[in-house]
């Protein structure tokens, strides 16, 4: 096959941010085998550390599939709401740091203030600004009362890039990949949509309450960095639309599954009832046992299709947990996408998929 452009330049993958992230992924896979299912949850926060609740959602859905349960309706709506908030967080981070890599400093500064506001929402619901460990198998962890409307986000600030001459010069016709090639290289998410394939797991294989919300899927036509950027900006607008619908449609109700063998009891119950105390103890030490089986569950994370291949052997620890990170396949396709481009374009291309 011959050495790729990358090898000739001695571009060590292990040193790029993406490489470090995939390495973290692999270490997590091994660590998860030694933890119970609940203890393994915070690893998912930290894998793609800017789309926390989406990763947790993928893992929770996988475990719920093996346990043969489903979260109550309110928990599903909360998951959708926070999933979309996470999508906005991730896209802000992705676009503005990409712009920063290319040379535009202003969007980064201005939009990170919006991220701070969203971190406040995270903190109010879970106690932690970033790594929430909030979405758990069985529902969500604590009660959430989203009373405030989401701010009408100043996405127009990011729009300052859309018609900017320098931005267009740096991203139009850069990193072009065709639809067939994108599928062959195992791309997913925005990388496919930028090349014209209308594929969104929230529409085609809906999970939680995505089949009850109304939103559009942004699809590009050229398959270059600029189209993918436009897709992401449009996805942010659609996420806002979804969040508004969630707030309007959210029912009252419980937020954890009813089964006391899976969802731990509330602390007030634990302090008064003997059975709750025992359940609490058993769940936080040994954990719940998951029936033997294997599942591959994927969600539409902001970076692409985030999948969890979970193998259970009937004990309270996962036997094997393989995490399919979208960025791994995208980074593998970097060689193909950057052929014929200049070195500075590699920065633009990597920024456009921000593999994690």
């Amino acid at each position: 096959m011959g050495t790729s452009t990358l090898e000739r330049l001695r571009f060590p993958t292990s040193l790029s941010t993406s490489g470090l992230s995939t390495q973290r992924l692999m270490e997590c896979c091994k660590l998860i085998e030694y933890k119970t299912y609940l203890q393994a949850l915070p690893y998912f926060d930290r894998l793609d550390y800017v789309s926390m609740m989406c990763n947790e959602q993928a893992y929770s859905l996988a475990v719920e599939k093996l346990l043969n349960i489903q979260a109550p309706p309110r928990a599903q709506w909360i998951r959708v709401l926070y999933g979309e908030m996470t999508r906005i967080l991730n896209h802000i981070m992705g676009i503005t740091t990409h712009a920063l890599d290319i040379g535009a400093m202003t969007p980064f500064f201005w939009m990170f203030e919006e991220r701070e506001k969203m971190f406040e929402f995270y903190e109010r619901v879970s106690g932690a600004r970033m790594h929430a460990a909030y979405v758990r198998p069985g529902g969500v962890h604590q009660v959430c009362r989203p009373k405030c409307k989401p701010f009408q986000s100043r996405i127009v600030l990011v729009d300052m890039l859309t018609n900017n001459r320098i931005w267009r010069n740096r991203t139009v016709d850069i990193g072009v990949i065709g639809a067939e090639d994108a599928l062959n290289y195992g791309f997913s998410g925005v990388m496919l949509r930028g090349s014209g394939i209308k594929w969104d797991l929230r529409k085609s294989q809906p999970y939680d309450k995505y089949d009850e919300v109304d939103f559009d899927v942004a699809v590009g036509s050229n398959g270059d960095c600029y189209d993918r950027y436009l897709c992401r900006v449009e996805e942010m607008r659609q996420s806002l639309r979804i969040m508004l619908q969630c707030l309007n449609k959210m029912p009252a109700g419980e937020i954890k599954v009813d089964d006391a063998k899976i969802a731990p009891p509330k602390r007030s119950e634990m302090k008064t009832s003997m059975e709750s105390l025992i359940h609490h103890f058993k769940l936080y030490t040994e954990g719940y046992q998951v029936p033997p089986g294997a599942t591959y569950t994927a969600v539409e994370a902001p970076k692409g299709e985030f999948g969890v291949y979970l193998v259970s052997d009937g004990s309270s620890r996962p036997y094997r947990c393989k995490i399919k990170a979208p960025g791994f396949a995208h980074l593998a396709g970097l060689d193909q996408m950057s052929k014929g481009h200049m070195l500075a374009d590699v920065v633009a291309i990597i920024g456009k998929f921000l593999s994690h």
């Binding site: 043969n68 109550p72 040994e286 046992q289 089986g293 980074l331």
Partner: protein, 244 residues
């Protein structure tokens, strides 16, 4: 206390009232089973077992020599069209004769469905690389080689991808310890990074969480049947619901 009593009564009287249990989708289940049978009829030489899990995931167990034919069929046949290789992993089950189970997860955009293809190998037998069929397999196979030690024949560039440059061993194998064998540190005397045997400050705590009660007694009874099959760890029937 009263709440738990109500829950018990509700569970006792009928699971149809219980919103906790995942709803079943028998239509998709039949569609997938029929499709699985269809594939098994077309490729009888390589397909050894087909199963559909109770949560509607189709799994195809094949002989290792059939990797390229089956994947090509699944990619190119008009009724399959699994153009996207979503994931390629391995699972290490040391108790089996062929300890590594290689798992291909494929996605068909045309038919909006997924399929899982599983095959097996041991430490020494090489498998055919599926890079000619799906370019995505390139890095995934490198990862499996690095982490498990499964060799892929005819791979364009099979070398380590995640471990350090001089690393020895295959970390994801079950006999490789979590802390590893060596640790690295910067040695000021020789002015470079050196690798030394690992010294843990605290002994690694592994709790024995095996409960004296059997959580899934039905699995134990069935184990004697399944142990004959190469894929005896995983089950596909609908009996594996929550213990009531």
């Amino acid at each position: 206390m009263a709440a738990s009593l109500v829950r018990f009564v509700r569970n006792g009287f009928g699971r149809s009232l219980n919103a906790t249990v995942r709803p079943k989708d028998p239509v998709t289940h039949t569609q997938l089973s029929e499709f699985g049978e269809y594939i098994a009829e077309i490729l009888p030489k390589y397909v050894q077992q087909v199963q559909v899990t109770c949560f509607n995931e189709l799994e195809l167990m094949i002989h290792p020599e059939g990797i390229i034919p089956v994947l090509t069929f699944l990619k190119d046949h008009t009724n399959a069209q699994f153009h996207n290789m979503t994931d390629l992993t391995a699972v290490d089950v040391p108790t089996r004769q062929y300890r590594f189970e290689i798992v291909y997860n494929l996605l068909s955009l045309r038919y909006n469905s997924r399929i899982r293809v599983k095959t097996y190998t041991d430490e020494l037998s090489p498998l055919d690389s599926s890079v000619p069929v799906h370019q995505a397999a390139d890095w995934y196979e490198r990862e499996i080689w690095d982490m498990f030690g499964v060799f892929f024949a005819n791979h364009p560039d099979l070398r380590r991808i995640l471990t350090d440059y001089g690393f020895e061993g295959h970390p994801f194998r079950k006999d490789f310890p979590l802390s590893g064998y060596v640790e690295v540190r910067y040695d000021d005397e020789v002015k470079r990074v050196v690798a030394e045997p690992v010294e843990l400050a605290q002994e690694f705590r592994k709790f024995d969480l095996n409960s004296p009660w059997e959580a899934f007694p039905a699995y134990h009874k069935r184990k004697s049947l399944h142990s004959e099959f190469l894929f005896g760890l995983l089950l596909a029937s609908e009996d594996w619901l929550l213990p009531q």
